[in-house]
Symmetry: C2
Subunit: 457 residues, 2 copies
Amino acid sequence: MIDAVLARIDADLDPSLERLMELLRIPSISTDPAYAEHCDAAADWLVEDLKSIGFDASKRPTPGHPMVVAHHDGDGPHILFYGHYDVQPVDPLNLWHRDPFDPAIEDTPNGKVIRGRGTADDKGQLMTFIEACRAWKAEHGTLPCKISVFLEGEEESGSPSLIPFMKDNAEELTADIAMICDTGLFDENTPAIMTQLRGMLSGELTITGPDRDLHSGMYGGPAMNPARVLARIIAALHDDEGRVTVPGFYDGVPEVPTQIKQQWEALGFDADGFLGAVSLSEPAGEKAFSPLEQIWSRPTCEVNGLNAGYTGEGFKTVLPSIASAKISFRLVGTQDPHAISASFTKMVNDMLPPDCTAEWTDHGANPASIMSIDHPAFEAARTALSQEWPNPAAFTGGGGSIPIAGHFKTVLGMDALLIGFGKDDDGLHSPNEKYDLSSFHKGMRSWARVLNEVRGL
Amino acid sequence: MIDAVLARIDADLDPSLERLMELLRIPSISTDPAYAEHCDAAADWLVEDLKSIGFDASKRPTPGHPMVVAHHDGDGPHILFYGHYDVQPVDPLNLWHRDPFDPAIEDTPNGKVIRGRGTADDKGQLMTFIEACRAWKAEHGTLPCKISVFLEGEEESGSPSLIPFMKDNAEELTADIAMICDTGLFDENTPAIMTQLRGMLSGELTITGPDRDLHSGMYGGPAMNPARVLARIIAALHDDEGRVTVPGFYDGVPEVPTQIKQQWEALGFDADGFLGAVSLSEPAGEKAFSPLEQIWSRPTCEVNGLNAGYTGEGFKTVLPSIASAKISFRLVGTQDPHAISASFTKMVNDMLPPDCTAEWTDHGANPASIMSIDHPAFEAARTALSQEWPNPAAFTGGGGSIPIAGHFKTVLGMDALLIGFGKDDDGLHSPNEKYDLSSFHKGMRSWARVLNEVRGL
């Protein structure tokens, strides 16, 4: 049954690409209000495309850009597929070697690529799933499972409408499992199912000392300097082993299960190459853990920005009134961002010298996402992907955050299969974004195989 | 002899003010090339004014704005008076309540003030000396000493021509002692002779880690973060007693002589008021020293700026490639800025973790200035000032740097009497700069008394 679908996907590669190009030509930049009508047009295009496969598809209004929701009956488990049709802005435009919204297939030393804004993030990826459905329907007149499609148009602008929409339409959107195509391969030969993603607590710490900037000749000595206070606080946030010193920080940090750890070790992660690519040679995280564990399964505390006093050319003899740092914590397991925020704030206040005040402004707090991989769809998907790609698929972690995965769990109670075909050099959010033609082609085939494996569950 | 001069100063206050107003109306902003002709005009005005008193005065070219040099014979010791005729820019102009170059006498709750750019820094101050000479000449037909006047037009733009001009004209400019009028009173009742000024070593420390900014999701953990490294270095620069930890830093830091220390204690410095004015309550410098000692006689290490990663609104999950700090050391005694620069650089490099580099860019290195107060002119001036003001004059220190004082010592081998009549609220370099009418009036009288006391030495 699957062979016919795969053959159909191969035969129809050109018309599949034609459809993707149509979608890519719509400049659906969600952050810029000037592009609102294009976001709307992209939603319309997807509704029509899903209808052409037989989905009951509709554009659904939100206070921001519309959602696309589509349903198709089927016999197997109910699957909810998520993707997003909005794209990043294209600045700086002068760094693009072609119009970002005039996509094309280009030959490169590493093979053919689809070049254009949104090719990898996320239009090319979401279309791998839709095209797999189309091929299946064309061959068999139906779909292998009951499938709902849920496409968002605000992913690149913070998804303000997402959770309210999910809550308002919980019954309609709840399925047996979610599938999300917005991640990457582990490497060009190794597919990945991302089963754990770090959460994040981020914010700005501002230390205030004197009520105005002072002259360091007049006040240097007796005046408290908030830049020095801030440096002392930051220096105290890690011990010599690279561990974060915020009290209670490691509450809820789990051990990686042996099964997962073995899969990670089998990946043969090239830590030297990973660090060497950015001119580093030694892993700087917790000494007791491998670089891959440091990224995927260990929490961090990082300084993302520092600002105080005079930062222009030359020199000014100012004693700053204010010093601030952007600080973020990457979280794992069941670490509680709110508890950590409170403990961090207390630690900072305990360190303050007289005449200093500290303010911590939260910029976001999301717990980590860990999938329950004992749902049989996880092993089924791993089997399916291992059939398509040279190397077996692995359950991997992700150092960053993909909030939607957590939302499916917390709002709708579903686990999510995070499967994607992007590569590290796709240039997400950057000029000259591309998606390998092989990612698109084998992505469609991968989803057909995944649906084939899960339909009997 | 002095009484007649003082009476003449009192009687001629109005014409003295008229002359000052003429000079103040010339917008001699030295940093802005658009005002070059006005700097030239101010020099011309001073040459003519000095000639009117009988000085052999001339405008002397430099690669920048001209110097004014004038000589007048006399019987006593040879005195070189220094001042500067250039002024600071006036931005932001909208914060001035009158045209900065249309000066006027204004009534304020604290008495009459002369309002305008350059009133206190330094035209009003330098004219106190010239007017004292004029009154003496008018009464006695000669001057009390041999007097040379040396006026600069680049003080507010770094004095690029000063040292070369002093070297080229060393014989002409060398006198028995220098007098400089560019400082302030200790308080409204207490005149000050500043006998020690801190030096300064300043620069920018840049720590580089990865060769580009990284994503904290992708690299957070194994990637070295230079902002954290910088914070550790800054935090290590002071111990818990507030002492600077750079090896050898305190080499050349002298004890304050008992005689000077007693004068300082007698000043009754209001540390609470000084700190309270900027919302501080506890001195933050070396615990073993009083706040006044911390400012005048103790060296410091301060952070004047911090910059790393993302510093705009909101948040970006960047791991910065570079973190930098503007750092300055205020120096006293015979501390050697070059030795400290080398020791600091070594200390920083010793603290660097793998994959990090540090660069220290010097922005300036001047040793401290300490006058040899055993020159009899110092006690003579103290006696003279004590006759004019309610409280006795004190030898004071200065927390900042006045490079000219050091240059007189190193280039011409002269000590300098730093006497001035400015007040803390004069608004130097700020909008609505003013000079108290009493500063101007009693300043003229003070110089007459000083000349009277030193003429017999």
